[in-house]
């Protein structure tokens, strides 16, 4: 095995090896990168190249004009079937954004599946808007001349879809709920896409009359049916109110190292020791607690807004001390006249002293009381010789112990 003379030698090796090191990237990263950048570049850059020729601009203009006419006819035909159009629109959006959806879901990994699936629809819509506006900004002027007819079909669904969205707005009303999976006590906004006035109910109980938009405080956990009724519409939807507590598991390792982790492994938190931030964005921390005192360890979940803060306490007590000596000289010189052990910071203490013939001559649970060398129940002086002290004690932060001390009484 090679050895290093000093840390610099080790660091040189580390620098050499790590600078050229490579690890296969996880397979899903490319898909996410491509969905954020690749597709955008490929569609729009190629399109802008195509448009760089004046003839092509004319072609596109004619084509878009044609599409617009077709769409206008379609919208007119669909006026009587608003639900169908809306469903189709949502489907198109979600199909086109499968990758965006997976990123969003990953970010919300820790939230429960209900939350993820319900919010994803909203997120997809928001993401779509952002992507569209980003695409407009990103179009580059200098691009390859390799696209031919293939570009035009790609524009078609985009143009048609936007028109469909506009069409749907005019012909139907849907409930707009600011958050369908709110946390307990969160205030959500309920409104409708046509801003119609109506009466609002939660689980059949009226909460507002003649309003287009209201704020509603979710004060109970569970799934609730929200409905809006007016002369023109009757719409219904549901929300799920969540909240949950997570607990901190504590385990003690060697030399004052404590491991704290949240029982729910998917929750990441910022951790505080006595309200001072000590670690961020993690499920588990290690903390060394050596100093005597009361410690409050708090975890504030950051990846799940419905998870409550968790707190645990650790009490580090003064370390105990136990010492003894093995001889004493009662009543000779005023020194070492009583036999005592030294014990500090203890939970329990009990001492018994026996003669060589196994006769108990002294016992107490008060370490300040010493044995004066006389039998404790009749005061008879004990003889010079060996005695056994049996001490049972428990120091702070330690297991209970017993200690047998062979001691000599000298006169």
């Amino acid at each position: 095995m090679e050895k290093f003379n000093n840390i610099e030698e080790f660091e040189q090796l580390l620098q050499d090896k790590l600078n050229t090191h490579s690890v296969s990237a996880p397979s899903d990263v490319w898909a996410n990168v491509a969905s954020s950048v690749g597709s955008k570049v490929s569609v729009f850059s190629q399109l802008s190249t195509y448009l760089s020729s004046f003839t092509n601009i004319l072609k596109v203009a004619l084509f878009v004009g044609g599409i617009a006419t077709v769409v206008a006819v379609l919208v007119a035909e669909n006026v009587e079937k608003p639900e169908v159009i809306q469903e189709q629109t949502e489907e198109t959006v979600s199909n086109e954004n499968n990758n965006t959806e997976s990123i969003l879901l990953e970010n919300e990994e820790a939230s429960n599946k209900n939350i993820a699936s319900e919010t994803s629809v909203q997120n997809i819509k928001t993401a779509k808007k952002e992507t569209v506006s980003a695409q407009k900004n990103e179009a580059k002027p200098d691009l390859p001349n390799n696209l031919k007819e293939q570009k035009l079909p790609e524009i078609q669904p985009e143009a048609a879809k936007q028109t469909n969205e506009k069409g749907a707005k005019n012909i139907g009303t849907s409930l707009l709920i600011s958050n369908r999976t709110p946390c307990l006590n969160e205030v959500i906004t309920l409104s409708n896409s046509s801003q119609l006035l109506g009466s609002w109910t939660v689980n059949g109980k009226s909460i507002a009359e003649n309003q287009a938009q209201i704020d509603y405080k979710c004060d109970k956990i569970g799934t609730f049916s929200i409905s809006l009724k007016s002369k023109k519409v009757s719409e219904q939807s549901t929300i799920t109110v969540n909240n949950f507590a997570t607990k901190i598991n504590t385990s003690k390792g060697e030399t004052g190292v404590y491991n704290f982790s949240l029982v729910n492994k998917t929750i990441l938190a910022n951790w505080y020791k006595n309200n001072k931030l000590i670690s961020t964005n993690t499920n588990t921390i290690k903390v060394i607690l050596n100093n005597v005192g009361q410690y409050e360890i708090k975890a504030l979940p950051i990846n799940n807004s419905c998870a409550l803060a968790a707190i645990t306490e650790v009490n580090i007590e003064q370390k105990g001390k136990f010492e003894f000596y093995t001889a004493f000289t009662p009543g000779i010189d005023g020194i070492n006249d009583n036999y005592k052990v030294t014990i500090e910071n203890y939970k329990s203490f009990f001492i018994q002293i026996f003669s060589a013939k196994n006769k108990k001559v002294f016992e107490t649970n008060d370490p300040n009381l010493g044995w004066n060398g006389r039998e404790f129940n009749n005061g008879i002086e004990c003889k010079t010789g060996e005695y056994i002290a049996k001490v049972a004690y428990q120091l702070n932060g330690e297991e209970a112990k017993t200690q047998n001390i062979k001691l000599t009484l000298l006169r």
Binding site: Q15, H21, A25, A34, G38, S45, K273, L277, K286
Partner: protein, 180 residues
């Protein structure tokens, strides 16, 4: 233009600059494993490293037109990934007062013996507590000065030095069998 035609770095970069999606994929395939190793070195876990890798490539594609072939392309890429990792660490509000957060006292036994290869070294760096790791990576592997580290991480030069000192001390404890 087909990706197989990008026989050299320059033509690959130029094709990426023009938005050729095959070239973008080829660029990714060529460099993602080196860049992922950088992210792994800086970040707390593989999920964070994946995020940094993704973010880094998005930046590369957005800024590739700014690369003027005045230096090495791989060096330019590496800088982007180091900076992206540092940015993400800063976003996660890493604080540098980690004196009471213990390093994992145990090492897997394979580090204690055998040959010191890149995987072992990476594992060691990853085991360092957050603050130590960032400064150690920047100073030792990526060659930043304490002044630069201080500026980038918004900490003082002396904090940077202390973190490096602690990181070195920790490594020496772990690797006591490796030193003569």
């Amino acid at each position: 233009m087909k990706s197989s035609e990008h026989t050299n770095e320059k033509s690959l970069v130029e094709a990426c600059n023009k938005g050729d999606s095959k070239a973008l994929k080829m660029l990714y395939d060529t460099y993602s494993s080196t860049m992922y190793a950088i992210c792994l070195r800086y970040m707390n876990n593989t999920d964070e490293a994946k995020d940094a890798l993704q973010e880094g490539f998005i930046k590369v594609y957005k800024n590739i037109s700014k690369f003027k072939f005045s230096g090495s392309f791989e060096g330019w890429l590496k800088r982007i990934f180091v900076n992206t990792s540092i940015e993400q660490i800063r976003k996660r509000k890493l604080h540098y007062d980690v004196s009471d957060v213990a390093a994992d006292p145990t090492l897997t036994s394979h580090i204690e013996t055998g040959k010191m290869d890149a995987d072992k070294l990476l594992e060691l760096v990853q085991k360092l507590p957050n603050g130590y790791r960032t400064v150690f990576n920047m100073y030792v592997v990526d060659g930043f000065s304490h002044k630069e580290i201080g500026k980038k991480l918004n900490i003082t030069e002396s904090t940077s030095k202390t973190q490096l000192f602690k990181a070195r001390k920790q490594l020496q404890v772990w690797l006591k069998n490796w030193f003569i």
